[in-house]
């Protein structure tokens, strides 16, 4: 635990008491780290799609662990089994722990039954990022989309999750929308549960 003085030795990471998760590091420290993640992955790819996929993979690995951690700590070892339950878990609990606030909005897609959107006016990972013109629609939010997919997938809600910039009237910077498209089986199960 950070700031708790001399750390006790544990033979196994699982023997260690679960921290309350209130420790903080500087935002710029995180931003430097995230920037290195993006730059390193840029050296490993030929195109934007591949870069987004790799950032999503990195995020997925975070999401898997966040689900496990938060189900233990915040939900008394229970996880959501219903669609709206897991969506609100992502939008509220996950967002609050990772980004310090509940997401700006959670909406159901109007055209497709299987689509939901989480929107954020200024997504944490996009704060210090400006995308060069030649990189088109590239969005570092792919990392956060990966986190969301990691949480959903491992809770039993497989989905395709993507990040998009959406221009806002009167605002210089677009907001980021995380688009969640659930797999057919999820909707079928949900319908069966009534």
């Amino acid at each position: 635990m950070i700031g708790a003085g001399k750390m006790k030795q544990y033979s196994n990471v699982l023997d260690k008491p679960l921290s309350k998760g209130r420790q903080e590091v500087s935002f710029s420290g995180f931003a430097y780290l995230f920037s290195e993640l993006v730059q390193y992955n840029q050296t490993q790819v030929d195109n934007i799609g591949e870069l987004e996929r790799r950032l999503e993979d990195a995020g997925y690995a975070v999401g898997v662990r966040v689900l496990e951690l938060l189900c233990h700590r915040e939900k008394g070892n229970r996880r959501e089994t219903r669609l709206l339950g897991i969506l609100s878990f992502v939008h509220s609990t996950v967002w609050k722990v990772l980004f310090g606030k509940v997401a700006d909005s959670l909406e159901k897609g109007t055209e497709h039954e299987d689509e939901y959107m989480i929107s954020e006016k200024e997504l944490l990972v996009n704060r210090f990022i400006s995308v060069p013109k030649d990189m088109g629609s590239f969005n570092c939010g792919a990392f956060v989309a990966g986190i969301v997919r990691g949480v959903l997938d491992n809770a039993g809600f497989p989905a395709v999750v993507t990040a998009h910039f959406v221009p806002v009237d009167g605002q210089q910077r677009p907001r980021t929308t995380i688009l969640i498209k659930f797999a057919e089986e999820v909707l079928r199960r949900e319908a069966r549960l009534g």
Binding site: V13, E24, V25, S26, G29, F30, L33, Q39, A58, G59
Partner: protein, 191 residues
Amino acid sequence: VGSVIMAPAVPRSGDAIFANVERVNAELFTLTYGAIVRQLLTDLEEVEEVNKQLDQMGYNIGIRLIDEFLAKSNVTRCVDFRETAEVIAKVGFKMFLGVTASVTNWDSEGTCCSLILEDNPLVDFVELPDTCQGLYYCNILSGVVRGALEMVSMKTEITWIRDMLRGDDAFELQVKLLKQIPEEYPYKDDE
């Protein structure tokens, strides 16, 4: 005719700076770092290569982070390497990671010492599997210190002496001053 003397800005304590900077949850930071290490292990396969890449990433961060550090800390030129080490341990680590290090094990020339970290936000939730025994999981930190010091004209060599992930009781980073690069600027500090 009197000359205008600027009062030297008082260096700020690490705690005061940390209290004033924008902060994020340490778990986001920890897990993101874990994702980076995991990606490198998949891509590069050899732990030696991963150690090198983490050090390089840290160096890239260090050469950028020093500007923010100098701007926010009001630290002026350190009189000697001893003071430099104290500033890194008490102000630098605190400002970015929210933890402080202690400085010990000085050699007689005052050019080599150890930074000891008991709390290290990079390693929460981490256990090294058998396949990663040669990995210096926190190697990004040594890169940051090396890069930042190079920007203030100090060439250093940094070695991990102790590592809690390898069963030691603390993290110990040995910092050895190799040489002080002479300043080549045509102007002085106060101009």
